[in-house]
C-alpha cells in the first residue's frame, strides 16, 4: 500500500490534489462553524445547487479552461441574492432559497441535456454532482486559483476572527457596538460562495454541505469554547480530507464520497466521546 502511494506521489498532480484538498477542507470547516451556529447552512446548500447550474452553462458555452471565471461570479452574485431573500421573514426566505437552488439544478440539467455535445452525459452530470472519480483531473490553473483563493480566505478568517465571534454570538450587540453587520454578512456570503466553487472540484456540488457541516458538528459535540471548536473543526476536516484522498487513491473509490465518509466516521467518534464523557 505504501508502495502504491509512493508511486502515486511521484506525479505532481497527485501532490497538487492533496494540497488543494487540504486547503479546501480547511476553509470550508472554518466557515462551517459560523454557518452552522447562525443557521446559515442553507446558504451553503443553496449555493452549491446554483454552482451546479452555472457549471452546466459553462459546459455548454465550451468554457472548459476558463469555466471558473464564469462560475465564480455567478455563484457570488447568487450568494448576495440568497442572503437578501433569506433575511426576509423566515419561512418565505426558506422557500425562496429552495426555489432558487432547485430551480438552478433543474435548469442546469435541462441545459446540459439539450445542448450537450458530450457522449457521456450522465457521467458528466454525475461528476458535477458527486465530484470527479479522482481529483487528478484538476487543471493547473484551477490548482493555482484554488491555492490563491484559499490563502485569501484564511487571511480573512484570521483577521476577522473576533468580529466573526461577536456577530455569530449576538448580531444585535455587534450592530449596537458599531459594526457594519450587513456588510460583514455580505462578505461571509461571498467567501462561502468562493469556497463552494472551489470545493465543487473536490467533492461535487451535492456533497459540499458535508464539508461545511460535519466538522463543525463533530467539534461541537466535544468542545465548549468557540476557539477550541474552530481549531478542532479545522483539524478534523483536514485529517478527514487527507485520509479520504489517500484511501480513494489506494482503493480507487470516488474521492468526494470517500472524504465525506471519513467525516461521518469522525462525527460518530466524536459523538461517542461526548457520550462517554457524560
Amino acid at each position: 500500500m505504501i508502495d502504491t502511494l509512493a508511486r502515486y506521489f511521484q506525479f505532481p498532480f497527485v501532490r497538487y490534489a492533496l494540497i488543494v484538498g487540504v486547503l479546501i477542507a480547511l476553509c470550508s470547516s472554518l466557515l462551517g462553524v459560523t454557518l452552522v451556529l447562525r443557521r446559515f447552512s442553507f446558504i451553503g446548500d443553496g449555493l452549491s445547487h446554483v454552482a451546479f447550474g452555472a457549471i452546466a452553462i459553462a459546459g455548454v458555452l465550451h468554457l472548459a479552461e476558463a469555466r471558473m471565471l464564469f462560475v465564480m461570479p455567478v455563484t457570488v452574485l447568487s450568494a448576495v441574492l440568497l442572503l437578501r431573500t433569506g433575511k426576509n421573514t423566515k419561512i418565505k426566505g426558506d422557500s425562496a432559497v429552495a426555489m432558487i437552488s432547485v430551480g438552478a439544478m433543474a435548469l442546469g440539467y435541462l441545459i446540459m441535456n439539450v445542448f450537450s455535445t458530450s457522449t457521456n452525459l450522465s457521467g458528466d452530470v454525475c461528476s458535477t454532482l458527486f465530484g470527479s472519480m479522482s481529483i487528478l483531473t484538476l487543471t493547473k490553473t484551477e490548482v493555482w486559483l484554488c491555492i490563491g483563493l484559499s490563502i485569501a480566505v484564511l487571511v480573512i478568517f484570521v483577521l476577522f476572527y473576533n468580529k466573526l465571534f461577536a456577530v455569530t454570538f449576538d448580531e444585535d450587540f455587534a450592530r449596537a457596538a458599531g459594526m457594519k453587520v450587513d456588510a460583514f454578512n455580505l462578505m461571509i456570503a461571498i467567501v462561502v460562495a468562493v469556497i463552494i466553487v472551489l470545493a465543487m472540484n473536490l467533492v461535487g456540488s451535492l456533497l459540499i454541505s458535508a464539508l461545511i457541516v460535519f466538522p463543525a458538528m463533530s467539534a461541537m459535540r466535544v468542545y465548549k469554547s468557540f476557539r477550541s471548536v474552530t481549531i478542532c473543526a479545522a483539524s478534523v476536516s483536514v485529517v478527514c480530507a487527507v485520509a479520504g484522498i489517500l484511501v480513494s487513491i489506494v482503493a480507487s473509490t470516488p474521492v468526494g464520497s470517500t472524504i465525506v465518509a471519513a467525516d461521518i466516521v469522525a462525527f460518530l467518534i466524536f459523538s461517542l466521546i461526548a457520550k462517554i464523557r457524560k
Binding site: 473576533n162 444585535d172 450587540f173 450592530r175 461541537m220 465548549k224 469554547s225 476557539r227
Partner: protein
C-alpha cells in the same frame, strides 16, 4: 449637555406607531427607569436608541462625549442557541468590539478590562466555563460584564432580572446600583415593576398611551403612578 436626548420620538414597525411623542434625556449619573405594560414599546425604544431600528419621527442626539456605539447594553432575550460553544471569557471580551473598531485583534488593555469586569461581576471562577452551562442569573451577569466592556458611561438594561429568583434579583439590583453610584455610570433600565422604579431610579419614563417623564418624586405624585400602585396593591391584597 446630556448623554442622550430624545425629542418627540415616534417608534414602530413598518410605519405603524407603537409609541409616540416621547421626549426625555439622560444626564451623566442619572438612573432612569422605563416602565410600562407588556407590549408598550419599551424594548423597541431601546433598540431605536441603539440604532438597531430607525425612529418613525423625532430625533435622538448623543452628547457629552458619548457616542451611540459606546452604550453598553443588556438585551431582554438573547437569541443564543442552546448549543452555542462559547466560554464566559470569550463572551465578555466580545464586549470590547466597540473599542477595537477596525482593529482585528483585542489589545492588552482590552483584555485586562475584560478580566476586570469579570471580577466586578464575581465571575472569575467561571471564566473558562461554557456559557450555556451556567444558570440564568450567572448568564445575566456575564452579559452585564460584556455590556460593561462596551461602555464607561452609559448602560441600557432591558429587564435585567426577568427569570431570576428574589435573592438573585436583589443582588442584581444592588450591583446595578453600585455601578451607578460608585462608578458613575448612567443607567437606563427597563422594567415593568413600578415599585422597583420608585425604589431605584432618579428618573422615570412611563411608556404607554400617556407618556410621563420626570424625576422619581414627580412621578410619585402623578396620577399614572398612583393608578399603577393601587392596581398592584389590589392585586397582592
Amino acid at each position: 449637555m446630556a448623554y442622550l436626548t430624545c425629542k418627540n420620538l415616534a417608534l414602530g414597525y413598518e410605519g405603524q406607531a407603537v409609541l409616540s411623542d416621547i421626549s426625555f434625556e439622560v444626564n451623566p449619573g442619572d438612573y432612569l427607569c422605563v416602565v410600562g405594560e407588556n407590549g408598550s414599546g419599551k424594548t423597541t425604544l431601546m433598540k431605536t436608541i441603539l440604532g438597531l431600528h430607525k425612529p418613525l419621527s423625532g430625533t435622538i442626539t448623543f452628547g457629552d462625549g458619548l457616542k451611540q456605539s459606546e452604550i453598553g447594553y443588556l438585551p431582554q432575550q438573547t437569541a443564543v442557541q442552546r448549543d452555542f460553544p462559547a466560554t464566559v471569557r470569550e463572551i465578555v471580551l466580545s464586549g470590547c468590539q466597540a473599542l477595537a473598531g477596525r482593529r482585528p485583534f483585542y489589545s492588552k488593555e482590552e483584555k485586562q478590562m475584560a478580566a476586570r469586569n469579570l471580577e466586578r461581576m464575581n465571575l472569575e471562577e467561571y471564566a473558562s466555563r461554557c456559557y450555556r452551562e451556567l444558570s440564568g442569573g450567572q448568564q445575566q451577569r456575564v452579559l452585564l460584564a460584556r455590556a460593561l466592556c462596551a461602555t464607561r458611561k452609559m448602560l441600557i438594561l432591558d429587564e435585567p432580572v426577568s427569570g431570576l429568583d428574589p435573592k438573585v434579583t436583589a443582588e442584581m439590583y444592588a450591583l446595578i446600583r453600585r455601578l451607578n453610584r460608585e462608578d458613575g455610570i448612567s443607567v437606563m433600565m427597563i422594567t415593568h415593576d413600578v415599585s422597583v422604579a420608585l425604589r431605584e431610579a432618579t428618573h422615570v419614563l412611563h411608556a404607554g398611551e400617556n407618556v410621563f417623564f420626570g424625576t422619581r418624586e414627580d412621578y410619585l405624585c402623578s396620577p399614572l403612578a398612583r393608578r399603577f400602585l393601587i392596581q398592584e396593591g389590589g392585586a397582592s391584597a
